[in-house]
């Protein structure tokens, strides 16, 4: 229970405050840097307070793009990232739900074999199978396309496994009651299982969206056409601008923008997300 020991309270608050500073400080510096002209950053002292170039810098980044990094507007890259992250997230959730539903509720030959097959792929994340996957995507002519960006990342053992575990906790009588109520397999899935999985879906949505948004290696491999570049690769390219020093103030502005969508997703989904992690609504 809550103990009333003053020095412990002070100590724990100190730890929390320290933790917050460590976490927030880099973000603050990034933000501050994104509001200064480049000279302020390059002169050796890092400013601690925002400058007056907020609108200018962000307008540059969003509009024309950074010339030295190929001049791709950040907006395009943000859009690409969004499409990729959403496709991966929605695809993963949809496929996992259906796979878990099949494995838990239907009796078909080699059911457990299917389950283990899916489960084993947990051991094969993209990075491990990247060459064969690339070959397949290339042969299918999917390089430089949204499909190529997202499809290979969609199959998901983790989410299938999580949904399977959740479905197993749904009382069997619920499925039987639904059968008596005349709900076929599809109706049961749509009217009962899906609404019950709502919080789990929300939790997975957040986790998978961030996973998809942060993809780096794969987009780097499958896109050569700049109009398909994603924001995470974009930032990396900006820091390696050829023949000149990186335009740090613009890099920082881009970074701030890249952080925004995951933050929005977390904030919007927060209530459901937490619910999904801590309770099961049964």
């Amino acid at each position: 229970m809550v103990e009333n020991r003053p020095y412990l309270t002070v100590l724990s608050h100190l730890v929390v405050i320290l933790g917050i500073i460590i976490t927030v400080m880099p973000i603050w510096i990034t933000f501050v840097a994104s509001t200064h002209p480049i000279e302020h950053i390059m002169d050796g002292t890092i400013p601690m307070w925002p400058g007056d170039k907020f609108f200018e810098n962000y307008a540059t980044v969003l509009g024309a793009g950074v010339a030295d990094a190929g001049g791709i507007p950040v907006g395009t890259m943000l859009f690409n990232s969004l499409v990729m992250a959403l496709s991966i997230t929605i695809g993963k959730i949809a496929i996992s739900l259906i796979a878990a539903y099949a494995i838990v509720y239907f009796d078909f030959p080699f059911r457990m074999a299917c389950f283990w097959l899916i489960f084993i792929t947990l051991m094969l994340p993209v990075e491990v199978r990247i060459l064969p996957t690339f070959a397949v995507v290339a042969n299918l002519g999917l390089l430089n396309s949204y499909v190529g960006l997202s499809l290979p990342l969609i199959a998901s053992a983790t989410a299938t496994f999580l949904f399977r575990q959740f479905f197993l906790t749904v009382p069997e009588e619920l499925a039987e009651a639904a059968r008596i109520d005349g709900a076929g397999p599809w109706k049961f899935f749509k009217d009962i299982l899906l609404p019950l999985s709502r919080t789990n879906i929300a939790a997975l949505f957040v986790i998978l969206f961030i996973y998809g948004w942060n993809q780096y290696l794969w987009p780097l491999l499958v896109t050569t056409d700049e109009s398909f570049y994603t924001i995470v690769m974009g930032i990396q390219r900006m820091t390696q601008a050829a023949e000149s020093l990186p335009l740090w103030h613009l890099v920082m502005a881009t970074t701030m923008l890249a952080m925004l969508p995951p933050v929005i997703v977390v904030v919007v989904m927060q209530k459901l997300f937490v619910k999904g992690l801590v309770e099961t609504e049964k």
Partner: protein, 356 residues
């Protein structure tokens, strides 16, 4: 409204377990049948076969003159109430009750009429907008009943619907379910392992044991004339006392192995010399004057208020526990009493346990 007929119904589970060994049962229109038996005897299995949740391995199930063996549960015109209620947690009470009707494509205003009528009968109108997790156990039970009622089925199926409730509520709901079933006149099959529930609710009981129907009859028939020692001990509380003995010459009495002798109300000359199990209910043992009857050495006395239960063993038989139910109070401090059997004694074959 319909009759229900089971003939030669068997169940063999896919793992080879033979759960039901052939049950024949005819249920009249509007009759309330209770399936009772110890845990694992196959009550739920049988009920679930009628519901269509388990396949029938052999025999036929006939509801209202229609063999339903191969019909989906939704097409059998039945409604089922589950032990854990099985309400849809994310739906409001109203939708829980309406869901099955919507799936049948019933018109909205007819659904509304039925749901409100059922809610009225069950007195859950104020809760129609709540979710199941905002209801107490008893209220959930009512919603589960409501979901069954709105379907206006031919047969109600109940699988231990009261076993999640506390004792007081259980008694109350027991009366309500029975009253409701009377009022609606719907043929019902009710599973329980609680013999008091079974006795009080049933028009007729099916006592099940190891996948077989040991005896089918009205509560009074089962109480007065149990056909086997299993039924004899299962029905009635506390259980019937079973005492080993041998029928004496002339068949007028049974000489117990413990040494005492019990007179038979109807002489059974045909059984003379036969080894039997004599059954006598605790309430059919009464105090006797000193010197007559049997001596009961007391181990434990339980005062229930109206009655007193005496537990002990007969002189000469240390192993066999005997219970006596006395009406009224019992003076403490005695370590033995004289008891005699009234006329209500039962004879069973010692080998087969069947009534003779």
């Amino acid at each position: 409204m319909a009759e229900l007929h089971l003939s030669g119904v068997q169940k063999i589970y896919p793992n080879g377990y033979h759960a039901i060994h052939g049950i024949d049962l005819g249920v009249a229109d509007g009759e309330f049948i209770v399936l009772v038996g110890p845990s694992g005897c196959g009550k739920s299995t049988l009920l679930r076969m009628v519901a269509g949740l388990e396949t029938v391995s052999d025999g036929t199930i006939d509801i209202g003159g229609r063999v339903v063996n191969n019909l989906e549960p939704a097409d059998r015109d039945i409604a089922m109430v589950f032990q854990n209620y099985a309400l849809y947690p994310h739906m409001k009470v109203y939708d829980n009750m309406a869901y099955g009707l919507r799936n049948r494509g019933m018109a909205k205003d007819e659904i509304d009429r039925r749901v409100r009528e059922a809610a009225g009968i069950l007195e859950i109108e104020p809760m129609l907008d709540r979710r199941p997790n905002q209801l107490s156990g008893g209220q959930r039970q009512r919603v589960a009943m409501g979901r069954a009622i709105v379907r206006e089925p031919s047969v109600f199926l109940f699988d231990e619907p009261l076993s999640n409730l506390d004792a007081k509520l259980r008694v109350q709901m027991r009366v309500e379910i029975k009253r409701l079933q009377r009022r609606l006149g719907i043929t019902s099959l009710y599973v329980t392992h609680d013999q008091v529930e079974a006795m009080t609710m049933a028009d007729r009981l099916v006592v099940m044991n190891g996948g077989r129907a040991e005896q089918i009859g009205t509560p009074i028939e089962l109480y007065d004339r149990p056909e086997t020692t299993f039924v004899a001990t299962f029905i009635g509380s506390p259980s019937m006392n079973l005492l080993e003995g041998t029928v004496a010459e002339g068949g007028t009495s049974v000489a117990l192995d413990s040494g005492a002798s019990i007179n038979l109300p109807d002489p059974r000359a045909d059984l003379a010399g036969r080894s039997v199990t004599l059954g006598v209910r605790p309430e059919h043992l009464t105090p006797a004057a000193d010197g007559s009857g049997m001596t009961l050495r007391l181990d434990l006395v339980e005062a229930l208020g109206a009655d007193t239960l005496l537990h002990g063993h007969l002189d000469g038989d240390e192993r066999r526990l005997v219970t006596v139910r006395l009406s009224g109070h019992f003076a403490p401090g005695q370590d033995s009493v004289q008891v005699a059997a009234t006329d209500a004694v039962h004879l069973f074959d010692r080998e087969t346990g069947g009534r003779i």
